[in-house]
Symmetry: C2
Subunit: 741 residues, 2 copies
Amino acid sequence: MKKYSCILLVSCLTACSSRTEQNSQLTDFVDPFVGTAYVGHTHPSASLPFSMVQVGPDTDTEGWEHCAGYRDTDRSVMGFSHTHLSGTGAAEMGDIMIMPVTGDIKFDAGTLENPDAGYRSRFSQDNEVATPGYYRTVLDDYGITAEMTLTPRVGFHQYTFPAAAQAGVLLDMEHGIGDKNYASAIRAIDDSTIVGFRKSNGFTRDHGYYFAARFSKPVGKTTVWRDGAVSESRTVEGVDTKMHIAFATSANEAIKVKIALSTTGEDGALKNLEAELPGWDFAAVKAEANDIWNRYLSKITVNAIDDDQKKSYYTSMYHALLMPNLVTDTDGKYYGWDKKVHQSTDGDMYTNFSLWDTYRALHPFLSMMYPEINSQLVKSMLERHRQVGLLPTNEYGLCETWCMIGNHAIPVIVDAYLKGDKSFDIALAYEAIKHAQTAEHTKADWGNYDRYGYFPFDKSSVESVSRTLESGYDDYCVALMAESLGKEDDYKFFMNRAGFYKNLYDPSIMLVRGRDSKGNWRTPFHSFALTSESEGGDYTEGNAWQWTWHIQHDVPGLISLFGSKEEFVTKLDSLFFVDVKELPGIVEVPDVTGLVGLYAQGNEPSHHIAYIYRYADRPDRTADIIRTVFDKYYLPTRDGLCGNDDCGQMSAWYLFSAMGFYPVDPASQEYVLGAPQVNSVSLTLPNGKTFEVKATGLSKANKYVKSVKLNGQPVTTPTIRYDDIRNGGLLEFEMTDKTGV
Amino acid sequence: MKKYSCILLVSCLTACSSRTEQNSQLTDFVDPFVGTAYVGHTHPSASLPFSMVQVGPDTDTEGWEHCAGYRDTDRSVMGFSHTHLSGTGAAEMGDIMIMPVTGDIKFDAGTLENPDAGYRSRFSQDNEVATPGYYRTVLDDYGITAEMTLTPRVGFHQYTFPAAAQAGVLLDMEHGIGDKNYASAIRAIDDSTIVGFRKSNGFTRDHGYYFAARFSKPVGKTTVWRDGAVSESRTVEGVDTKMHIAFATSANEAIKVKIALSTTGEDGALKNLEAELPGWDFAAVKAEANDIWNRYLSKITVNAIDDDQKKSYYTSMYHALLMPNLVTDTDGKYYGWDKKVHQSTDGDMYTNFSLWDTYRALHPFLSMMYPEINSQLVKSMLERHRQVGLLPTNEYGLCETWCMIGNHAIPVIVDAYLKGDKSFDIALAYEAIKHAQTAEHTKADWGNYDRYGYFPFDKSSVESVSRTLESGYDDYCVALMAESLGKEDDYKFFMNRAGFYKNLYDPSIMLVRGRDSKGNWRTPFHSFALTSESEGGDYTEGNAWQWTWHIQHDVPGLISLFGSKEEFVTKLDSLFFVDVKELPGIVEVPDVTGLVGLYAQGNEPSHHIAYIYRYADRPDRTADIIRTVFDKYYLPTRDGLCGNDDCGQMSAWYLFSAMGFYPVDPASQEYVLGAPQVNSVSLTLPNGKTFEVKATGLSKANKYVKSVKLNGQPVTTPTIRYDDIRNGGLLEFEMTDKTGV
């Protein structure tokens, strides 16, 4: 029988203690505020790797800029909620909000413009501290210092009050980021324990958390609010509910509150509270959270070119380890995808899969460095398939949102399988991935796809070009697994589909282009037009220029469509040197940011593009682009991320690219060589071996790769293989200022 | 019988003297240094309107940056030559160079890097003065102050020497800008007169000037150089020849030298010298040159928004009045296009026709404001046709260079004809323009054009798209004249051709595109690829995006190809919002500068584009672009021009655009309304009437046109007509900050 605490946390706590001491300060190089300004959409909440809870400040809950509840330019805070998505382009979560207050009871939050209209408090960024697992701020309107840390399922608050006859905390179950309640409750069940829940619809159509809060000081008078009506009561239940819990406080009195979450019920929350955080030692829990992060971070030792880069590196690692998130209680119970409570018999289950983003580099990073957690992610996806008959695409809060395209659980599953992960049911896995690519669903009308060899824009739905290209990659992944399992017919069927991308390449203009069921190209055709689902275009968050390169599994095949490597390079160069600014009359897509020409580091379809130059014998261009992106778009500042971090994908791109290789085709077990940006990196692999990467001679001028050696042997292929890494060893890049072309 | 001095100069000297006093300081607003840095390719030489001589400094003679012999960043000067092109993209002229010197005789110029290696002298820009008709510098290596002014055919030098036993001047006939001699001579014919010539091949395959120099002080010892051999002699003749003429000078002694040019021979030069500049009063000649310029400039009174803009305005006028250039001697003799000496019986003849550039706005400006000179330009072109059977295309130094495309003498001739100019032989004119459009020449294979309806890129030569579009405009102009002359068949034939542009519009991608003789579109196709003649592309100094709008005579027809005004605007907007920077692997064309997106103010094919929005009911976009271009690309500084001034075309664009209208279709006698940039302009027309333009409410914010009234009546069409101007009156724009869309 499995243990249901977060496996890695426990294993690290015991196995890695000697390492921890050596690297105890790696967390000093993590700045959770990175990405909280501009469009990073990160949050500074106290978090643990893949934890159920992320507890921290919500400065507002409306608008795209508040997807994660916190925005750098805001100067007042509504309170501290327990769930936050990191770097998404959609607003959600912000569940179970608590706010310490003094003075008159207010049930409205007030606004950013007029914080005095409600219980919000002004704060100064000078008083804010965020480290991995810890957040602190000072509520200037109340004179309260608010600190919070956590265990995986429990947020732990410590509020240092001024002397106040009328002090208290507010629990606000109406509060949520970008969503609306359909039910909630708050009930004091003894003099120090309050339980309840919040269930809402929004970006996720139905998600909910139960909570159990325990106070270090007996709960005084409780005043409740239900849909606008205020009364004194120990309980309240309704659509929107709030409760003010009163205390009298002396100067500098610290009141502590532990709030556990659960997906299964209030009992589950109470159980999690007691199992995971029985004591009251705030400093110890904070230190343990910091230790856990250091143990995760210490898997990689980086010799950066300066402290700023080191900060970008470990902050990227931190961001890459925040999601997906735990859903199982400490005993393995969880609310399933089928909306029933289940008992897991196969370890922890997870949700918050941003797979359109994360199949590219985040999951490959996890499968390389943290395969135990990756196994649980695969098992969670398969469990979803078992319960509701579909793998997740973009699932948050246990709900499929259908917000993006593709079936990109498939590359994650096939990657794990091809890396030799035997922890999950292989037969079930194959059944699930084949089913996903053959059973029609919201984003996949396979009948048209198979009949025409692409999704025809007149018969199929929108985003027909992007869906064809991305489905081709998923088909290829199914084919790889079919081949490995000896399923020849399936292999042929899916591999044939994997070539469908060729049907949408218009050789006359050397771009991919929508095509109707009669074979006609989309006309009229604006090659710069950015389209997204809501606009009814042929591309997903992009245009023809950006999508033409979206062939991850067959770059040589793509090149051959252009006639020659030279023509390919000429066209590809254009992508980086064309700049479309605020094109009026053409849709603007907020996700398309971090531009180098039309290359968009801030959005995922561009992420592999720099690397495909390798296949056209132009590694110098790869080096130019990677360096430009590093210098311009990954800075250790609040506005240092150029796009939504997208649940760690942006950060995982950085982690691979810094090392000089990238999983262009994640399932292939190959990494395409790029140009390293750090002096050296040492990976402590899951099997205990060490893989080291050195960039000899790296400098501002020496950004090009002169030669690559693996364990002393020259590497002449564009790629290295996973086995080269798994076996440990040394990958050495000799850097130069000469392009070599 | 005609007088052979420059007609306008004489008529102004007598007729405009009262005006001159009122406006005597307009030349204060001309800065001849504008455009001498970056890529303006202007020169600060002393010049008169359309004069044969432009006398001034050559800082170097090699490389594209020295097309006009002078570059702002150079810190030493080789000497002062007598011919300079203004703003061309090809290096030529720099004929008959003189340099005052002291000390040892040197016959090599030395280099910019090492001026001490030769007779060059360092100079400081602090000591440089250039005003219309005057240039002054101090030669620091010699302590000589060099000043120069001119009459139309004679450069007048005044050199103030230090006390020097060994002083002198060097005549260097090897010196020339970007070309090579094939013959030259220098001969002292008396104690104060030296004659000679220089004939060279270069951008112009055969051009030459004879000269006669007269010295205010007797010529002392003469040392000559012939192809490297030095000797004492009074004469030298060879391929490359030079002569050092020695004097002894006392402190501050001023030595004056008058150097007359002629195309007919040394006798012609002597005759021009004596007829045009018999005396020695340097100050009087300088003052007269200034007066001539003031009289030209005073035809327009501008109320600018500030002095900077006033400087840009009158400097633009100055640049617009420098070329073409006089070739006839004072008695009407000139070296003809057939390489024989002719006696003109029809007034002065001119060369240096940069017609690909200047048919657009410069000739329309001249035909509106200075029709006398425009008549002589038309007569010169027709005389060329009479002598050698072809109108000029891009002719300099009496030589056809074939450097650009089209037969754009045609719009100039037809414009003059339709304005009622009866000074030239109408029958000959029609014969010449029809011949140009039907007799095959280097750039026109009419057989293919008529057979296929476009120049097919596989059978025809390069630049097939641009040639088709530009020939269509010339065809349309022939058709206009044919219609006026009642030649119905010709009208139909040429008007049919004028629609050929439609055959190169690819509706699928909404761009013009090369097509072969089978009707296939150019494939593969890089829509951004900039091509020029030498690269073998389909476009002339541009790409598909820039050329799609090159329909001057049928904008409504062009719009209808897009299906709707909205689609047209969407595509056209892209032009301004797409930015292609240093696209590697794709040809870079140095002329394509002054970018707003891919719109290139620095190159002529873009010049009418802002105005075509008017036909799609989007005058706000016209206003946006004009304002952007004014603010960014026309500044009264050395680097203030964004592209080659192209013999005044760039400046003429400014002059029209400042007034709020532009000759999109120069032959149509219509001007498309834009957005005025000056408070008011008053034109003194050739017939003595006044046409005034006012921009009421113009400001930084008020850049859009709310309404237009002509003599109090609302203008509801996109254009006004030439007759509206010719009759005098008031055009009033009411400006607003609202786009009105």
